[in-house]
Point group: C2
Chain length 252, copies 2
DNA sequence: CGCCCGCTTGAATCTTATCAAAGATTGTGG
DNA sequence: CCACAATCTTTGATAAGATTCAAGCGGGCG
């Protein structure tokens, strides 16, 4: 479903910008054919059903995964059983860089998922022989770090509308990076997932979507597909802290 | 000031946990003497005054810095001129991994700072010859990624008391990692910096500190030095979403 | 000694969380 | 193929907490 062209079966893929590259370079496939083939030799292809838990927080992780198709969520469960979603991961994303690594959280498939499975042992020895591969991992990590910083920035927004707008903008951006169409934004996750990602209640998420629709800023075919119809107002929602409570939606 | 033992003049230092190491390993110095010496060969030592801006967001960065002593803040300035602090960086931390890298934000010294300056060009060629160094950088990045995820988690807390408590806990943890004493928590940054880091107003920060003091949970010598005197109640503030508005502070 | 900047405190407004319940949707089993 | 059940989503009222605006306090630096 919604298969991206990014992972085309030629082997594991990593997408990121080269931080030492030119200023405004776009995210791109970092691994060359040879590297992908070499990694493919270590990998097996596995599948997960929708809703299936792939990792549990704190569990011993003996393999990393590289998503081919589908979407997963990475989350932490707090003491009071509330959940915080750390990230949504899509095609070409990597998770499970060891339990001590950046996926010290649980992972669950929110759509059917196909992925390469890479044993960490084999992966690590591959690193020692291949400085180029290691460098690409550094690029990917820097990319993820920036992504997480952006998540943190979204979380500082006070208004629900601002958070939801920035979230939609993010999804749109990720679709573009993956080379998909960008007119329709695809929301594979549940409202409660969005709530847990944005640090707000499900009700607030629902109301924010309602507001955006009522004001004519977005139009939704169904729960999972949404289109931005008033881009200028949408951009105001994203960029500003002070949101006009009921700005006329008349075309400027 | 408050110089840590971590950066002892033997050359650049990186502190992190090995994500492929044992489950509960503590953060430690990753570089060995030889690596530090080799990096020291590339580096020059520079100093910055308190309040001095080291990088401006989007500026061309031709060098990375490794902090020896002092504290800096990394921040982004939004369209409406409001600021969001991405991270506070201490001894052994690294910033400026290129403009495209994870420090695509401005950097400003909040205390006097001494640091190693490493030209990215030399650094990059060093990477190609030294897979071990590259691996350590990966460890550091994974460490920073988790740190940033934790920041995001703090930002999801609704109550000011919870945010401030988690922030104090973080500072305490970082002091411990650096090998400093942990009874007194040192706050080098201004209240407004804390506000910008936690996504709340300065007033809310001030009131939260006031509350913690009034309730006898913390005791402060001055604006910059604070001690946790009621640990059990403090831990409740940190761990819980539902904070008892005026829980008796009587020793259980 | 005085000014500037940072910090604290107070009162009104506003947004969201929370509780509660009804309306959709999905998936399952008869 | 339809009906039921469980889950997800929306909608409504209330209240708690935060932001905002405004003013007073304090401390450091020239």
């Amino acid at each position: 479903m919604k298969a991206a062209v990014s992972n085309d079966g030629h082997g594991p893929a990593i997408r990121a910008v080269d931080p030492w590259g030119s200023p405004r370079e776009k995210a791109r496939q970092l691994l060359n054919e040879e590297e992908r083939a070499r990694l493919a030799g270590l990998a097996t292809i596995v599948q997960f059903r929708k809703g299936e838990e792939i990792y549990r927080e704190g569990q011993r992780a003996d393999a990393a995964f590289n998503i081919i198709t589908g979407v997963v969520k990475a989350y932490k469960t707090a003491a009071d059983n509330s959940k915080h979603i750390t990230a949504f991961l899509f095609s070409s994303d990597v998770f499970g860089l060891s339990e001590g690594g950046w996926c010290a959280n649980s992972i669950k498939a929110i759509t059917p998922v196909t992925a390469y499975r890479l044993p960490v042992r084999a992966l690590r020895s591959q690193f020692l022989n291949d400085p180029g591969l290691e460098f690409h991992v550094i690029c990917k990590l820097i990319h993820d770090l920036r992504q997480t910083q952006h998540h943190a920035f979204i979380l500082t927004r006070r208004h629900a509308l601002s958070k939801i707008s920035m979230f939609l903008q993010l999804l749109e951006y990720l679709q573009a990076v993956r080379g998909e169409q960008t007119t329709i934004i695809y929301l594979p996750m549940k409202r409660s997932d969005i709530a847990e990602y944005l640090g707000m209640s499900v009700e607030a998420v629902s109301r924010a979507f309602g507001d955006l629709t009522t004001r004519g800023i977005v139009k939704s075919r169904d729960r999972q597909h949404l289109e931005i119809v008033d881009r200028s107002t949408f951009d105001k929602m994203v960029g500003d802290t002070s949101i006009s409570p009921a700005a006329g939606s008349t075309t400027q």
